[in-house]
């Protein structure tokens, strides 16, 4: 599954290119909306960063099953005998790779535009981002499969996903804030534990229920 999706993506390069551009635009929008004042931006930076991740994540995750829909392969997946959770894990892994790639790009752009010194905080930041991204992608993949066949899916997907991801967003923003201020990961251990718990719960629920989403 991962192999197939990556292959498709490499051939078309649609998603990654578009998302790169989207990330760049987001930065401009943030900058314009908040003004050029560095001081003020610094306080909102963790929030902005995750807002950027979430928005591009919504786009990327929402497209999870577009390949299937455009090629009418949805029913084919369904009809494949065997365990459907393998499809979920495959899609999740693909989404994770995609999102981490986008986030890496966004992070570099943020560092560049907002004059951040990322080198020192990178290890801590990487942990937070990785934990948060798994949680985002796990629920996102599941919900994308659910909304793929529904009317008004572009609307329904974020409407369902955002409230569910609220705790993840709170945790990641707070943890990112601490890391950017130079605090150790230990000081935000409770947030990291919450994120880890969310990761475990979301992935487990996803694996267990994906069968029911896909089947008809």
């Amino acid at each position: 599954m991962v192999w197939k999706d990556l292959l498709v993506e490499r051939r078309s390069k649609e998603t990654l290119n578009a998302l790169f551009f989207f990330g760049l635009l987001l930065l401009f929008v943030f900058q314009f909306a908040l003004g050029p004042d560095r001081e003020r931006l610094a306080g909102t930076l963790p929030g902005l960063l995750w807002l950027g991740f979430i928005l591009s994540g919504l786009l990327a995750l929402g497209r999870t099953f577009v390949v299937e829909r455009e090629n009418d392969c949805w029913e084919g997946l369904l009809l494949a005998p065997g365990d459907k959770s393998a499809i979920y894990v495959g899609k999740l892994a693909g989404n994770l790779l995609l999102m981490l790639a986008i986030e890496a790009i966004l992070l570099v752009l943020f560092g560049f535009f907002f004059n951040l010194d990322l080198a020192n905080v990178l290890p801590g930041l990487a942990v937070v981002i990785a934990l948060g991204t798994v949680a985002l992608a796990a629920v996102g993949t599941l919900f994308a499969a659910m909304t793929a066949q529904v009317r008004a899916r572009e609307l329904l997907f974020p409407v369902l996903l955002l409230p569910v991801e609220a705790p993840v967003l709170l945790a990641t923003v707070k943890a990112t804030e601490a890391v950017l201020l130079g605090e150790t990961l230990g000081s935000v251990a409770h947030w990291l534990k919450l994120l880890a718990a969310a990761d475990v719960v979301y992935v487990a629920v996803g694996v267990l229920t994906f069968d029911f989403v896909l089947e008809a």
Binding site: M1, W3, K4, L7, V8, R11, S12, V67, E70, N71, D72, C73, E75, G76, L77, L78, L79, A80, P81, G82, I87, E215, A216
Partner: protein, 239 residues
């Protein structure tokens, strides 16, 4: 032939909202038999195929394929069937060989390179194996989607308007392919809204109207004109 039919549908009903698409449909298909289901657009042909393929659950009634109930054991049913719908289930950005490999892997098969090449040769796509599906014609895509079943060897083929959009050569090829599938003990259900090549393959003709089979008759020596006369008669009756 006193054996249990390969496909047995009893009292099938499927509703969408307030609309009963299928209502009280019965159908039996035996091994080595091909049934052509004729019906107007919107008569429920595709819905029938989807229910047979375990893609949607019946509202009422049962579908049994090779002794497995589609509602309770969809996995077992899925091992026995091959569905070729309007959509061809191929990824446009992958090559023919990659598509085949993907679907085989998903089905839990581990075909050797020779087997894969053999399957592509069976559907006469060996020369296009490494070309992207995007460049294929409709006939080639349909052949490719059939290639999956050369590997998986289902006992039941479900075809949604299989001859539509194919050129003469592809039609002839499909006809022969279906005939040999039948000869190998497989059962075929195919839908159509107007008879062409289907007549040659079908052993029985079933007219779908008013949500049920209005007429189920051996093809015998019926001509396409006869079938259409029957269709007009029974479809109007039911509606």
């Amino acid at each position: 032939m006193a054996s249990e039919p390969l496909i047995r549908v009893t009292g099938l009903r499927k509703t969408f909202g307030n609309h009963r698409v299928l209502d009280g449909l019965d159908l039996d298909v035996r091994a080595g038999e091909a049934v052509a289901v004729l019906g107007a657009n919107g008569a429920g042909k595709t819905t029938l195929l989807k229910v047979l393929a375990t893609l949607t659950r019946p509202t009422r009634g049962t579908v049994t394929i090779a002794g497995h109930d589609g509602a309770t054991d969809p996995e077992l049913v899925r091992r026995e069937i091959g569905l070729v719908a309007h959509s061809s289930y191929v990824y446009e950005d992958l090559t023919a060989a990659e598509n085949l490999m993907f679907w085989a892997t998903l089905a839990g098969l581990r075909p050797s390179a020779a087997e894969r090449a053999g399957a592509l040769a069976t559907v006469e796509l060996e020369r296009a194996a490494d070309e992207r599906v995007r460049t294929f014609s409709a006939g080639m895509k349909r052949r490719l989607s059939l290639a999956r079943f050369v590997l998986a060897r289902p006992r039941v083929l479900l075809l949604d308007e299989p001859f539509t959009g194919l050129d003469q050569r592809a039609k002839k090829w499909l006809e022969e392919h279906l005939a040999s599938f039948k000869a190998g003990g497989g059962a075929i259900v195919m839908t159509t809204h107007s008879f062409g090549r289907e007549l040659a393959v079908a052993d029985r003709i079933a007219i779908l109207a008013g949500g049920a089979i209005a007429l189920d008759t051996p093809r015998g020596s019926l001509s396409a004109d006869d079938v259409h006369r029957l269709y007009a008669l029974h479809a109007e009756d039911a509606s």
